[in-house]
């Protein structure tokens, strides 16, 4: 099985949950479909959803919750 990365389209701060009280969008082992939200990027006073562009199964998150990231940074690894 090949693995691929889902990259962040934006620089900013990465969040894995829609809000601090809610569970993460995705966890290890979850399946991912194109268009699924996998996290949020905070930049310029707003939050932007990051959506998967391919289908697969989450192997691991590479970026941590609240981590500062650059555009193009790998956020998670999926098995396709």
């Amino acid at each position: 099985m090949a693995t691929e990365h889902i990259q962040s389209p934006l620089p900013g701060t990465f969040y894995r949950r829609p809000s601090p009280e809610e569970p993460p969008y995705k966890s290890e082992g979850d399946s991912v479909a194109p268009g699924d939200v996998i996290g949020l990027i905070e930049v310029m006073k707003s939050f932007h959803e990051v959506k998967a562009d391919k289908a697969g199964k989450v192997v691991r998150f590479i970026a941590e919750n609240e981590e500062a990231i650059m555009a193009g940074a790998p956020l998670l690894e999926i098995e396709v």
Partner: protein, 323 residues
């Protein structure tokens, strides 16, 4: 003759060199955050330097051109594609009707400037086509561009391929970014120690930074010189009796996070300003990504004026190279 917007990117706006002359009425100067890059892009496609183009932040748009034209992209390093084929930045690109311009992930810098021959010809508002989104002025109905928009252009084919800004004449911030600051008008409000700390500390661009202001965090909190707050000033020691803000002025609400006011800033208010980023370095701020390490460097008026002359000389060199 125009541009069809397939995908707008993130908060992509029409900008020119701005709308000076109304700041005293609360209407900001607006215009490109990196005016050097905007001017260079316009020169490459044969436009007046003040023609309107697009400013895209962090993420490029996808645009289809409906007539033959020349396009140039200057500013941040973000791979440029014409019908999927990679093209160079800081260079003129001949485009045929129906071709699509798109971008890959941002590498360095923050904002790209896309100029098209003939310029984008939306109506002017108070002498400028710049978009001031908060005030819903200029651009397309006062807002960032959106998918489905048809942007009118001046429509000549332009000079085509083969023009480029030599690499040594391009300008980008270092890492850490160094921003030169002239202390004042309210420098006296902070202690000597706080003033030294401000220039010693390494700051980082906060993710909130936008066209109104660039916020920095990570340095030590500031101590203020004690005083009885004057009538009309708020109770926090960072408050003053309301005053005029200038482009580039640095306010520090609560003494914790400096904010450098930029092109879409408010024109006045009640926060003290410890100094002003010199005009020659304001373009660099427009190219800072969130979390970029940054240092403030103290300069005097003579240095600031020399830096302004140097910047003008650099622009002259670009003009000469493209003449």
């Amino acid at each position: 003759m125009g541009i069809k917007v397939h995908n707008p990117g993130l908060a992509t706006t029409i900008q020119d060199l701005g709308r000076p002359g109304y700041f005293h009425l609360g209407i900001p100067i607006s215009g490109a955050m990196d005016r050097f890059a905007m001017r260079a892009a316009n020169m490459l496609v044969g436009n007046d330097e003040g023609a309107a183009g697009l400013e895209a932040v962090f993420m490029g748009p996808e645009l289809e051109f409906t007539s033959d034209c020349t396009v140039a992209v200057c500013g941040a390093d973000m791979p440029i594609k014409l019908d999927g084929e990679e093209r160079a930045g800081w260079s003129s690109i001949a485009v045929k009707a129906g071709q699509v311009l798109s971008f890959d992930f941002l590498k360095t810098g923050a904002r790209i400037y896309i100029a098209v021959s003939g310029g984008i010809t939306v109506p002017e508002y108070l002498g400028s086509r710049s978009t001031y989104a908060i005030g819903a002025l200029g651009g397309v109905d006062g807002r960032p561009i959106a998918a489905g928009d048809d942007l009118p252009t001046g429509g000549d084919a332009g000079p085509g391929d083969g023009r480029g800004v030599p690499e040594n004449l391009r300008r980008a911030p270092g890492n850490p970014a160094e921003l030169r600051v002239l202390p004042g008008l309210y420098w006296h409000r902070i202690t000597d120690q706080a003033g030294r700390n401000f220039f010693e500390d390494e700051w980082k661009v906060a993710p909130e930074a936008d066209r109104m202001g660039y916020r920095f965090r990570g340095g030590r909190p500031m101590e203020f010189v004690e005083r009885k707050q004057p009538f009309g000033a708020g109770s926090d020691p960072s408050n003053i009796v309301d005053g005029c803000y200038s482009y580039g002025s640095i306010q520090v609400p609560g003494g914790t996070e400096p904010i450098v006011l930029h092109r879409d800033a408010v024109s006045g208010g009640g926060y003290f300003m410890l100094g002003t980023v010199i005009s020659a370095d304001m373009d660099l701020i427009g190219q800072l990504q969130p979390h970029t390490p940054s240092k403030f460097v103290k300069v005097d008026m003579e240095t600031a004026l020399q830096a302004r002359r140097d910047r003008h000389a650099l622009l002259d060199q670009v003009r000469a190279a493209l003449d």
